[in-house]
């Protein structure tokens, strides 16, 4: 057993549900007890999704414990098949159901006989992998299934497109900023004259997966989800992939450089010439992205050597650390990630860009580390924002886990050249502004005058008795003042001088407060 107050990554079935609900017309049926379908809540609330989330539960209750699921799972699958006619149904075990050790595969096989949809049992060990690893696996499992199916039917499309094209692998639901990231990547590729073959899983339909090998190469923007699919395609179809995350000016250039390399393996034969993106990179870096100029500007000078701490998933934490250290001259005292399974990569990436590395899933360790370090700013998840609030240290939020305010309505990509602008703002804003910083240092604070009274006027005529005073103290601080004022207003109107415990409530009723 492990004492856990907070989790950075969710359980495996969340990952599977995320992949399933990202694709078009795919339905996940969770084998789960009542209440385990809260993925629907997060999707409906955090993402403000307009459609019903295509995830339902096949309930595990006392009857299932006593007699096994028997027909129930099968019925729920075939029922979904009839009601919504999905292309694919993904029965998803949960941590609870996996202990039952039912032969779900058998039930699934039987269900697939009587339904028109394809049925694939999500193959993840719920005690060994977390949300992100599960999503990675499920995505690969689905791609593998449909590749094999297409191959069997002879419909697998392996002819390369005429013009260079790419698949983007790994943008999906509940991924904070994923939609914006994807749009920015598409824009970048379009600039380079590269077509988008397929984006998976978000918005794609599973039948279409047979066209995946048509692309010249794959792009995996996030390490957490998509690498397994990319390596599978490499092995199976000989498709190369780019796994550099194009975040920050330097890495975006590196990303484009790798793309150039992959295109140029085919370009001489298929296009009759080689491509060279050198001048594009140069132009974008200097004039489209403002980040390079920002780093050079006087403003950014004030950030030199300021201490920062970074924490998040492997992709974002690594990218942000590199940007802070390499592109802005900020001193990253500690960088960390909760993606333990990727610790080696993380370590290697950040050689020379930070003092220390912290790999942990325990937020109290992260909190202690931040308290010890006393940085000027934190770049981390919602958890670190919370820690920062306690310690009065500003925090820029990078995904994930994040909350609803990080599913922004406005366009906020992290990758690409627009991404570098967004990140520069994100980094700059938490730090105290330069001139203000100087003045605060010099003059010792904003409000140096002691506050003498809490209210602007005093009332001698009204007394609160002990009981009502205690009652008043129960009221949350941020509304207490208002309630007190309203009560006294009411009391004066009624000619009450001694405020007893029922007066505040009478006032509340009378004043629409």
């Amino acid at each position: 057993m492990k004492l856990a107050y907070w989790m950075y990554a969710g359980p495996a079935h969340i990952g599977t549900s995320r992949v399933a609900s990202s694709s078009k017309n795919v339905h996940a049926v969770m084998h789960a007890p009542l209440g385990d379908d809260y993925f629907n809540v997060t999707r409906s609330m955090l993402e403000r999704e307009r459609d019903f989330t295509p995830v339902t539960a096949s309930m595990v209750d006392r009857h299932v414990l006593a007699r096994g699921s028997q027909e129930r799972v099968i019925n729920n699958i075939t029922r979904k098949d009839k009601e919504q006619r999905p292309d694919l149904i993904v029965p998803t075990p949960t941590r609870t159901s996996s202990i039952l050790q039912e032969d779900l595969q058998n039930l699934v096989d039987r269900a697939s006989l009587s339904s028109n949809s394809d049925v694939i049992l999500a193959d993840v060990n719920h005690y060994r992998v977390n949300e992100l690893e599960a999503a990675d696996r499920t995505l690969e499992q689905i791609v593998r299934y449909y590749s094999n199916k297409a191959r069997g039917q002879g419909t697998l499309n392996q002819c390369l497109t005429d013009k260079p094209s790419a698949n983007i692998i790994g943008t999906f639901t509940s991924g904070s900023h994923n939609q914006h990231d994807c749009r920015e990547l598409k824009r970048l590729l379009r600039d380079l004259g590269i077509g988008i073959n397929r984006v998976i899983p978000e918005g794609g339909s599973v039948g279409d997966l047979r066209n995946l090998p048509k692309a010249w190469f794959n792009i995996v923007p996030y390490r957490e989800v998509g690498l397994m699919t990319a390596t599978y395609s490499e092995k199976e179809f000989g498709m190369p992939y780019v796994s550099v995350t194009p975040m920050g000016v330097v890495d975006t250039a590196e990303f484009i450089g790798q793309i150039q390399k992959h295109i140029n393996t085919w370009a001489p034969t298929l296009l009759g010439r080689k491509v060279n993106y050198g001048s594009y990179i140069d132009n974008q870096t200097k004039f489209v992205s403002q980040a390079a100029w920002f780093s050079r500007s006087i403003d950014c000078q004030n950030l030199t050597g300021k201490k920062a701490v970074v924490s998040g998933d492997a992709t974002h934490a690594a990218s942000i650390t590199k940007i802070l250290a390499r592109e802005m001259g900020i001193h990253v005292s500690r960088a960390g990630t909760y993606c333990k399974h990727d610790a080696e990569w993380f370590n290697e990436q950040l050689q020379g860009f930070r003092d220390e590395i912290l790999i942990t899933e325990d937020h109290t360790k992260v909190g202690d580390m931040i308290a010890r370090t006393e940085p000027s700013a934190i770049f981390g998840t919602q958890m670190e924002r919370h820690i920062g609030k306690r310690l009065a240290i500003p925090c820029g939020v990078i995904p994930a886990p994040v909350h609803i305010q990080n599913f922004t309505l406005g366009y906020r990509p992290f990758p690409g050249y627009e991404g570098t602008n967004q990140i520069a703002d994100l980094v700059y804003n938490p730090f105290t502004l330069g001139m203000e910083d100087h003045l605060l240092d010099l003059l010792g604070g904003h409000d140096t005058k002691e506050v003498i009274t809490e209210s602007l006027s005093t009332d001698e005529d009204l007394t609160w008795n002990l009981e009502s005073k205690l009652e008043l103290n129960k009221i949350p601080g941020f509304v207490r003042g208002k309630i007190k004022r309203n009560t006294e207003k009411f009391a004066r109107r009624k000619g009450i001088t001694n405020i007893t415990i029922d007066v505040p409530y009478a006032a509340k009723e009378a004043l629409n407060a």
Partner: protein, 459 residues
């Protein structure tokens, strides 16, 4: 009241494929209510991720709630449950020093048959802190029923009621049979101001909401001798023979059963104090059982209704459907019918007809009084079917769980999150306004957007 004409409620039962919160969500409000407690949820990552993610608040990173996250070694019994729990509880004691640790058993502990009730008493003596075990799992219960399992478990920890007034009173009563009036007896028995047997209220309300029933009853010169739960574990009320108990929430049937059967208390079965009608009926019932003549209740109720006029104008003849997820549905629909609404469907996870008998009777009376048919009450609803019905009936307002709140809005159906009724103050006369504020909010908001031409935004 003309009861003859009224139909008896019909209960339907569907498939149980519905969305609700897992009952472990009760820790969200209980750990704040019981100030010196520590809640340890013994379960998997799935359980832990739920309150953190779906209830969406960072307070879950605060220290008085934690997961004992089961690992593979726990499931396969490679590790010893007792040892593991001792290790974690000692750590909790060291870090927080609570007055009680509440273990929340989950689906996983049920399936692997972890003997929490057996381990707790042993550990309790070892570490010197009371350990209460509640099985609030999704195999058996829905959402607010979690509180029910915790309170039922806490009931056993309340001190025995042995105050002179109760027991002595009985004996004295025998001795005093010849004395002139009953009044003398009750005067004799009274300790402090109460001229009635002790009354304990059950249900976790925020402290300000809890003082209101106290005050209302005080106006009828009834003293509330304690609440289950109290603000602190160390202040639990004493229970026993001669103590009267009454619930303030409709989902507390297990607690009520435990209070009656195990602690020999007398249960006052009343409608619940939700809405002015419910509050009045609740007080009246308590008064009648305790032999007190209620005073001024009718005026009080009318005055509250009067204050609600603006809201009632908005609600009159509007229709509403409850998808059902928190067991407050019958009380809320009774109140809304009294407000002039038409209720199409009352979905509810579980219906205890005995515990809710008073509420059901009041619903029936309200329906006949307002001349509307009884709504259909659907136990263990099926969300898919409900959505089909909703598309057909197009209610003016749908009260739905969070998973089903945004999609109906996108389809032009006004929707209210049902969870808000659980987390807002809705009890007593004073809060009737807040309750209607909640109910009317989607209507008021959508009224102001009506002419913009983007009611239906689904793709």
């Amino acid at each position: 009241m003309p009861i003859e004409t009224v139909e008896t409620p019909t209960f339907e039962c569907e498939t149980g494929n519905y969305h609700t919160f897992c009952p472990i969500s009760c820790v969200a409000w209980l750990y704040q209510k019981i100030e010196d407690s520590f809640f340890l949820v013994i379960g998997t990552k799935t359980c832990g991720y739920f309150p953190q993610n779906a209830l969406g608040v960072m307070i879950f990173a605060e220290p008085r709630y934690a997961m004992a996250e089961l690992e593979e070694g726990d499931i396969s019994a490679k590790l010893n449950d007792h040892e593991e729990l001792r290790r974690l509880c000692l750590q909790v004691r060291k870090d927080r020093n609570p007055s009680v640790i509440v273990w929340i058993g989950t689906c996983t502990t049920e399936i692997i048959k972890m003997d929490l009730e057996g381990i707790a008493p042993k550990l309790e003596t070892e570490i010197g802190i009371p350990i209460v075990v509640a099985r609030a799992n999704g195999l058996d219960y829905a959402f607010t029923q979690g509180e029910d399992t915790v309170l039922a478990a806490v009931t056993h920890r309340c001190p025995e009621h042995r105050i002179s007034s109760g027991k002595q009173c009985k004996t004295e009563r025998k001795l005093l049979t010849d004395s002139p009036t009953r009044q003398t007896v009750s005067n004799y028995c009274k300790s402090g101001s109460n001229n009635h047997p002790p009354l304990v209220l059950s249900g976790s309300l925020p402290s300000t909401a809890a003082s209101q029933p106290n005050l209302e009853l005080k106006r009828q010169s009834i003293r509330v001798s304690g609440w289950l739960p109290a603000q602190r574990y160390t202040e639990l009320p004493s229970l026993g023979e001669g103590v009267y108990v009454c619930g303030v929430n409709p989902f507390l049937s297990r607690t009520a059963t435990t209070l009656m059967r195990r602690r020999r208390c007398e249960l006052i079965g009343a409608p619940f104090p939700i809405g002015p009608d419910g509050t009045r009926a609740w007080i009246e019932k308590i008064c009648s059982v305790l032999g007190v003549k209620p005073e001024g209740l009718e005026e009080r109720e009318n005055q509250v209704w009067n204050n609600l006029r603006d809201y009632l104008d908005l609600l009159r003849e509007k229709s509403v459907s409850f998808m059902g997820d928190n067991l407050l549905e019958v009380s809320l629909s009774r109140f809304l019918i009294r407000c002039g609404m038409i209720v199409y469907e009352v979905g509810i996870p579980y219906m205890d007809e005995r515990y809710q008998a008073g509420e059901l009777a009041l619903l029936r009376d309200t329906c006949s009084r307002m001349c509307v048919p009884m709504p259909r009450i659907v136990e263990k609803p099926d969300n898919y079917n409900q959505i089909q019905r909703m598309r057909e009936l197009e209610p003016d307002l749908a009260i739905a769980g969070m998973a089903h709140a945004n999609p109906p809005e996108a389809r032009g159906i006004n929707t209210k999150w049902s969870v808000e009724f659980t987390f807002a103050q809705i009890h007593g006369f004073t809060n009737a306004k807040d309750l209607l504020e909640l109910v009317t909010r989607p209507l008021r908001r959508n009224d102001s957007l009506r002419n913009l031409g983007w009611t239906n935004l689904s793709v």
